[in-house]
Symmetry: C2
Subunit: 278 residues, 2 copies
Amino acid sequence: MQLVSRNRCFEGDQAVYTHGSDVCGVDMTFGIYLPPQARNGSVPVLWYLSGLTCTHENAMTKGGFQEHAAKHGVALVFPDTSPRGEAVADDEAYDLGVGAGFYLNATQDPWKPHFQMYDYVVNELRALIQGAFPVTENHGITGHSMGGHGALTIALRNPTLFKSLSAFSPIVNPSQSDWGRKQFSAYLGDDEATWAQHDASILLGELGWHGDILIDQGADDQFMDLLRPQAFAEAATLRRQSAVLRMQGGYDHSYFFVSSFAGDHVKWHADRLRTGLH
Amino acid sequence: MQLVSRNRCFEGDQAVYTHGSDVCGVDMTFGIYLPPQARNGSVPVLWYLSGLTCTHENAMTKGGFQEHAAKHGVALVFPDTSPRGEAVADDEAYDLGVGAGFYLNATQDPWKPHFQMYDYVVNELRALIQGAFPVTENHGITGHSMGGHGALTIALRNPTLFKSLSAFSPIVNPSQSDWGRKQFSAYLGDDEATWAQHDASILLGELGWHGDILIDQGADDQFMDLLRPQAFAEAATLRRQSAVLRMQGGYDHSYFFVSSFAGDHVKWHADRLRTGLH
C-alpha cells in the first residue's frame, strides 16, 4: 500500500493510497479520511461508493463529508468506481467499463478479468482497511447514484458486515432501467436471473434489512426515470421495511445535492455505528 | 447576463452566469450562491476570490462555503481569476496570464487590453451583483492565496465598499516574492513604485483597516516562502491593527485546509455584515 497524498482536514487527515489488488488484477486507488478521534483509538467506518464517471476523488473533494465525520468521530472510505489502466477493458460510453463498475463481479469477457468490484469492496478492500487503519468492526455504507446502488445491494447481501445503510439518489431498480440493463447484459450475460442479486428493489423484497434505511432523492433529479425510486418505495412498503425515504424538493442529481445532506447521512450512520447496535 | 447553471444547495441556489464585460473586453463567468433567506429579502454578500489556476468553480464545488452561508443568511460571489478566450494574452507558466490575473489593472502590453481584474471586481461585477440580485450594500471579502492577496488589497483600498475582511493563506507581500515580482513586472512594468498599491503588507502599513482582519494560514503550507505571512504579521503589529492571525498546525495550502475553516470565515463576515457596523 503506497501513500499518494495526505492533507490535514477538519483536524483529521484525508489520505489517498494505491495498492495492488489481487481481485481486480491492477493497482487500485482509494481515499480514506481519519477523524481526529482516530489518533486516540479506533473509530467506526462509513463507506461512500461513488457514481458513474467518478473516481475515489469526487466525493472526497466535493461531498463535504469530512466536517461531519470529524464532528461525529467516523472514518470515511472512498473507493474507486472501477479498475483502471491499459490492461482494463473499456467502452466508449460513459456508463460502461471504466468509471462504471456497478459494484458487481463480471462473469463475461472482456470484463471478467478486472471488473470484480463487488469482491473488491466487500472482501479485499474491507480487509485492507480493517487491518491497516485504526477502525472498529462497525462499518456503515452509503453512496450516490450507481454508488447508492452499490451501497444498497452490498449491504442487503452482507447484513453482518454492514451495520448501517443509506443512499443518495440511488439506482434502485437497474434490471428495469437503461442504467442497468445494458451493463448487466455486458457484465453478467443475458440470463436475467443472475441480475436479481444486483437489484436493490428485488433484494429488499426478498431479504429485507435488519435496520432502518435512509434514502434522499432530489425531486428535480434529471435522471429520475433511470433511478426508479418508486420501485424501492414499493418494495419497502410491501416489506414493511423500516426506512426514511425523503423526496427533497428543488434538488437535482449533483454534488450540490449530496453535500446538502451529507451531514444528515453521517449523523445517521454515526448514531447507529457508535454502539454497534441497530 | 446569461444563466449557465443553477443547482439547489442547502435550501438555497448555487448559480453560474456569464456576462459581457466592458472592463475586460470578453465574456466573464461568475458563481453566486443565494441562501434561502434571499427569497424573503436582501442579504449581505461575501466575496470569495480564488487563487492561481482556479476558475469561478473551484471554491464553489470544493470550499464547502454554502452550508455556512445558508446557516448565516449570506450570499456568496465567486468571480473568475482572469479573463479567458482566444483574444486573451497568455503565458506558458501557470502563474502568469490566464488563471493568474492577480486582481490588478495591467498597464503593459500584451496584458493591458483584457487583464483589468481590479476594476472588474471592484466596479463592474460589484455593480452587476448589486443591481441584479437581492443583496444589501453590506459586502465582505475573502479569498485564498492569490485570491487572499486580492481580498486584502481590494478591501484595504476600498474601505467604504467592503465592511469585513478575511483571507486564507494569502500572498501578502508579492513585491518581495516570486509570486508577485514576475507578474507585477509583466502587468505593471518595472517601476516598482507602482507595485506598492498591490502589496497587502505595504498597504496595511500605510492605510490600516477600519475593522478587524481574520487570516488563517496552514503551518505546513508548501508555499509558505512565497506567501510571506511574516511580512503581514509585522505590518499588523507595527500598525497595532486589530487582527486575528492564526497559524493552523498540520494544514497545507489545499482546499482541504480552506474547507476546514470556511465555517469560521463565513461566521466572521456574517457577524460583521449583519448590522453593517464594524
